[in-house]
Amino acid sequence: MEILIKNGFVFDPINHINGERMDIAIRNGKIVDSVDESSAKVINASGMIVMPGGVDIHAHIAGSEVNAGRLLRPEDHAKDVEPKTPITRSGVGYSIPSTFTTGYRYSRMGYTTVMNPSMPPLEAKHTHEELSDTPIIDKATFPLLGDWWFALEYLSRGQIEECAKHIAWMITSTKGYAIKIVNPGGLESWGFGKNVESLDTEVPYFNITPREIIRGLCKVNKMLNLPHTIHVHTNNLGKPGNFATCLETMKCVEDLAVDEKPVIHITHCQFCAFKGEDWRTMSSGAEEIAKYVNNRSHVTLDMGQVIFTDTTTMTADGPFQYTLYELSGNKWVNHDVETETSSGIVPFHYRRKSYVHAVQWTIGLELALLIKDTWKIYMTTDHPNGGPFTSYPRIIAWLMSSQARKETLKKVNPRARSKSLLPTIDRELDFYEIAIMTRVGQAKALGLKEKGHLGVGADADVAIYKINPELTDPSKDYKLVRKAFERAAYTIKSGEIVVKDGEVVKHVEGATIWLKIKTSSPIEVSEDIKRRFREYWTVEYENYPVSEKYLAISNPKEVEASI
């Protein structure tokens, strides 16, 4: 099928196109130079914005913890339902939508690629089954490897190459995409109900520190030539004073960077940018973090913006979720996974009038606005931890309009307001920068070469928004901007029109992107793993890997490791 998108204002930062009026041609799911106008389906995009399809670097949309969250919260679903239509399956929202609804809602906002950032390797099949039931969008998933016994043992003995081979085996056999590290060392300690306090606290029984885990896996990442950096959820997340841990984490891999390339991604940075001694004195550490990031090039971040709403928090950080349960007294799910990781879930309501929640809200926006280079920080809510992904258009409005920020600031806790830097920040992002923060930068950080741009040969994932950058001043008309980004005029996925005027018009399956890592000696590794398999896990070696039949559409990327 051929499509011609005519006369749109194109924002394609990778190809340095900033709002030029031009045509985009699509054939067989790819962007091409030109198509025959008489036979192609022509979309008149005049007066509209054309961008690459949205890319989300961090959203919990599938897998055992997400599903445990769904099970935990019938009250969350009953208020937000999606009836079946002749085209789409039914489902429910709100903060943890069912799989079909997740795919539809993302595509209705013009998003076409989403990263599911935490997969317990033992339960990888579950994650992939759910991803296969998540329509339209392409997805990838990151196995949790920061507390895996094999990794800890090899790293503590300094056998970095051995560790790399095992990680390669793990990513390939669980169909993962990147190395996810959550509270390194802390999750293993949580096995006995403990945590680690700093980067240099020794992990009980394993003779290793979080610093060594992060550095080790960062080196492994480089040895394996993985497209994305290590994806790190820092220690001490969600604790006052943790901005120091966050800075320490970024610093600890500074020397491993080559050619100004990023080597670490700090995810949902808002949650690890708290200053202060306790919850009373807690304040924003965004300035310090922004200052550090502005002077370095080895780190990328995502926001983890908080939205004032009722949501469901879920992370692999078991001890953090326990603290949150103690703080809130809400219902609490914990799920530890043998030899690998843990996880926890607590429903949570962010309130405007709460001092801490309001400070959290300001931190996210401060980070996004104080970090000068939009290629370094990406827009996320750490869905659903800061709020559901459906609130992205609201964040876009806040980023593009200081007036929008002021409107919300007026309503938040006065003490938080008076302490915030936000009123002093005039910066307003333009559509070009928004394109970078919501898709292009994320695709680049993930090493997805065929996504995040509209050059010839790119995947034909395109979002068209009904807003005219020449006639609209986002600073004043932020409500229009928000509306436009809530309901894409068109979403094109792999060359097919899937959304029109904010409604799904076609149900297609999305692909699962995973890495096939080639190392020099794969057989040796599996022998070692096989030998210890029955000791470590309660399943058989043959039953552990995820076969390709679990993927609705499999999109393997071959990676040549340098070991």
């Binding site: 019938p74 679903h77 429910v92 943890i96 799920h335 530890d336 070696y541 043959e542």
Partner: protein, 482 residues
């Protein structure tokens, strides 16, 4: 002779995946590593109760028909029904459940699985208070205190203790099977002595042997792996336990709350709770607080007796309280091999684990209203599809009567009680033996089910049958597509 290794056993929620099946000429001749229940299924699945042809009831008698005709008839029943129920799903693959949900959505019916009469109350409690849990390997490696409450794993999940808990060996914990053997030997010796005594002193009553008194043994205080069983009767599991607490039937809730009080250092101003002396409970509470990693497994004995879901509320709250002092987790002992999977798939597609009503076009969940037993008791449904389950032998009589009164489709390998009162019977292959798929262990670990042998000619897996019915329903309703 050929040996198929790493086969997952499609019997109970333990889902042992280390089964070795010995094949000769395409037939199963032996099974290794399996428990009695598992071996029986692998060796005898092809029994005389197997249905080999689709059946339709005509003039009150079953008539053999072609598969196409049976599927057409089933689709007609479902497409013409205004409030059909689709029930079962716990002994089949996740893949079949996925199609089942699509079918339920298409016909605007209610889809429910066997948790509704089993661990449904556990799910309701989880929705109330959450659940601190873990995978079974975590218990093998770390748990130094294992409690089974209202469940009898030795008989119902025979390899559970050996593979995952007291008798398994982990990184931080040793197996206790030696201690168990020593205990058994001592018991046998004691019995012999007693018999000898009886012979010498004729029929004079002797004192109750110590293992039948309810005093906690002194070694409960020692730092080593311990097994406690709490039940209304002395089960086989209780025999192997280090300590057995006999709770009065229906009094579990009191006992749980008493333990919660003791753990919070509150005084209990009575001598006995649920028939157990408080001083003994105090010792148990001490053991719970002082362990490094404790686990409470609970079975249907807790979910389906007395206070039902309030029991589980109390049990989960007890676990939560214990987490203030140490690490403690809790896990339901799921029965059918894929009842967890049925919950999991239903949850990711609809947001709800069981009792999902599609009659308004979107998923709705209100157990008590949308659960099949209640629908049947109110006589609201006008057709039913039962798959991989036998509700006629477990539902209340009145519910079964309504099931029989309305058109009934059964998909099952066996001529079970429900099939005998059905209008359409479609035989299916045994998933995990004759068909592949995925199942979820009780701790939510997904495992592949293998196809080892070919099903009898013309017999399809559940997934395929349901898909064919779905296609036929769509054809009848004039909807194109797959």
């Amino acid at each position: 002779m050929e040996i198929v290794k790493a086969v997952t056993c499609p019997v109970c929620g333990s889902l042992c995946d280390d089964i070795e099946v010995v094949m000769e000429n395409g037939k199963i001749v032996d099974v290794r590593n399996a428990c009695a229940a598992g071996a029986a299924k692998f060796l005898n699945y092809n029994c005389e109760h197997r249905i080999l042809k689709p059946l339709i009831r005509k003039n009150g008698e079953f008539v053999e028909v072609s598969l196409d005709e049976a599927i057409r008839k089933a689709a007609e029943i479902l497409a013409n029904a205004s409030y059909p129920i689709l029930y079962g799903w716990s002994s089949t693959s996740c893949e079949a459940v996925r199609v089942g949900l699509e079918l339920a959505e298409e016909i605007g019916g209610v889809i429910d699985n066997t948790s509704t009469v089993c661990h449904g109350p556990s799910i309701l409690s989880i929705q109330d208070v959450g659940i601190p849990s873990c995978t079974l390997g975590q218990i093998r490696h770390r748990a130094d205190l294992v409690v089974y409450w209202g469940s009898n794993p030795w008989s119902a999940h025979p390899r559970h203790i050996e593979r995952y808990t007291a008798f398994s060996e982990g990184r931080f914990q040793k197996s206790t099977w030696r201690r168990y053997l020593a205990k058994i030997r001592a018991l046998i010796a004691k019995k012999k002595l007693e018999r000898a005594f009886k012979r010498i002193f004729f029929k004079r009553e002797i004192s109750v042997p110590p293992h039948l008194r309810y005093e906690p043994p002194p070694f409960l205080e020692r730092k080593e792996r311990k097994l406690i069983v709490i039940d209304v009767r002395r089960t086989k599991s209780a025999e192997i336990a280090d300590y057995f607490i006999k709770v009065e039937p229906g009094k579990d809730y009191e006992l749980l709350q008493a333990l919660r009080m003791l753990i919070r250092d509150q005084e209990i101003e009575t001598d006995k709770v649920a028939g157990v002396p408080v001083e003994y409970l105090e010792e148990v509470a001490d053991v719970m607080v002082n362990c490094d990693f404790g686990i409470l497994f609970f079975g249907v004995g807790l979910t389906m007796s007395g206070a039902k879901m309030r029991n589980i509320d109390a049990a989960i709250c007890l676990t939560r309280d214990l987490n203030m002092r140490t690490k403690f987790v809790i896990m339901p002992m799921r029965g059918h091999f894929n009842v967890t999977g049925a919950n999991v798939v239903s949850t990711w597609q609809t947001g709800y684990p069981f009792a999902v009503d599609f009659s308004l076009g979107y998923p709705r969940y209100n157990p008590g209203e949308t659960s099949v037993v209640d629908i049947l008791l109110r006589g609201e449904s006008d057709a039913s599809l039962i798959i991989a389950s036998d509700p006629a032998s477990s539902f209340p009589k009145k519910a079964v009567e309504h099931l029989a009164k309305t058109p009934l489709i059964v998909i099952d390998p066996h001529m079970n009680v429900t099939a005998q009162i059905a209008d359409v019977v479609i035989p299916s292959a045994f998933v995990g033996i004759e068909a592949e798929g995925t199942a979820y262990r009780m701790d939510h670990v997904p495992l592949p089910l293998k196809k080892i042998v070919e099903p009898p000619e013309g017999i399809l897996p559940d997934e395929e049958i349901v898909r064919r019915i779905l296609v036929e329903v769509r054809r009848l309703k004039g909807i194109g597509g797959s």
